[in-house]
């Protein structure tokens, strides 16, 4: 099974995956990246109104094959009374 590397970014904090994970194919690696992103999101409560997370997948040859990004923008409501 080929190895894939999942590098993550949380704002400015980059984490390089040096060990990798064996997965059957690119499609499973893309799905794994999305699952990882969802898990990172669950684990982290943004300490402000902005959050930006990403997972970059690199295959064993070193080629980037996929990037999954998730962004939160909490904006003040223009309708403070909540009436529509």
């Amino acid at each position: 099974m080929p190895s894939y590397f999942f590098h993550t970014r949380d704002g400015d904090k980059l984490e390089i995956d040096e060990e990798g994970t064996d997965l059957p194919d690119d499609q499973s690696a893309r799905n794994a990246a999305k699952e990882l992103l969802a898990a990172m999101n669950r684990e982290k409560l943004p300490n402000g109104d902005h959050m930006s997370l990403s997972v970059t997948v690199q295959n064993a040859e070193g080629t980037e094959i996929y990037i999954a990004r998730l962004r939160l923008d909490g904006l003040p409501s223009s309708n403070p009374n909540g009436k529509r």
Binding site: D17, T21, L23, A32, E35, L36, A39, E43
Partner: protein, 249 residues
């Protein structure tokens, strides 16, 4: 004789929870046992099957599991030598989950009739089996708390704490290091995590020097730190005092 050794493991396991009088111990050692060998990742009993015998884990690591609609597996519990993970089949014959091996294993099959006769002749043994199922329920509650409420690193650390504690209680670990013959996907399936996520968090635990995990060998480097991360309190295992003292290497 192997069979005797395996039945002694059953007695040892029961006695991690409560001592048994010699006469009751002997009755357990006299149980009929048919040994069956399994490869790794093989089913022992499948969901939906009706069984007429109980499976004593004699050697190896066994799990209960369920497969959900999209094919994902949830490992429900881990079973070590001395466990009878399907003791409930005595009263509920149709399996509502599957029992399978994680490593090559030897399983001792004990006919229901023999276990039933034994439990009817000895209320102490009845109670011992009942207690086993109650403690298993306590372990399930702990796993439920973990999957529902603990962070990924905490879940992983908790599995390590529980595993080495149980291994030490049955004499298969010196309380510092033990075999942990689980692949990373298997650990992920037990904790409800994806393999990639689990790999990342496991790396953090290793880098924090709480454990060493090399070639399926788990070594505790910082027991207090590991328990703290895991939110681990061994009370729910209901072990006799002193049977599982864990120390840092």
């Amino acid at each position: 004789m192997d069979k005797q050794l395996y039945l002694e493991r059953l007695v040892l396991k029961l006695e991690t929870h409560i001592p048994l009088p010699p006469a009751e111990r002997q009755k357990l050692l006299d149980l009929p046992l048919t040994l069956k060998r399994f490869e790794a990742s093989q089913d022992i009993v499948r969901e939906g099957e009706i069984t007429k015998q109980c499976c004593l884990v004699a050697e190896g690591l066994v799990c209960r599991y369920k497969i959900v609609g999209d094919g994902a597996r949830q490992i429900l519990s881990l079973h070590l030598p001395g466990d009878i993970p399907d003791i409930h089949s005595l009263l509920i014959e149709r399996m509502d989950h599957s029992l399978g091996t994680l490593t090559p294993a030897v399983v001792g099959l004990i006919p229901h009739d023999a276990v039933r006769a034994l439990t009817r002749s000895s209320y102490r043994i009845s109670e011992a089996f009942w207690r086993e199922t109650l403690i298993e329920a306590a372990i399930y509650r702990e796993w439920m708390v973990g999957i529902g409420r603990r962070s990924a690193p905490s879940r992983i650390a908790h599995l390590f704490c529980e595993f080495i504690t149980k291994m030490t209680a049955i004499g298969l670990s010196d309380g510092v290091t033990c075999n942990l013959p689980l692949t990373q996907p298997e650990i992920a399936d037990a904790l409800g995590l994806s393999t990639v996520h689990m790999n990342k968090k496991l790396r953090e635990i290793r880098e924090a020097k709480l454990i060493r995990l090399r070639a399926n060998r788990l070594t505790v480097l910082d027991w207090r730190g590991l328990c703290e991360l895991a939110d681990f309190d061994p009370d729910y295992l209901h072990l006799q005092p002193g049977v599982a003292k864990i120390e840092s290497a």
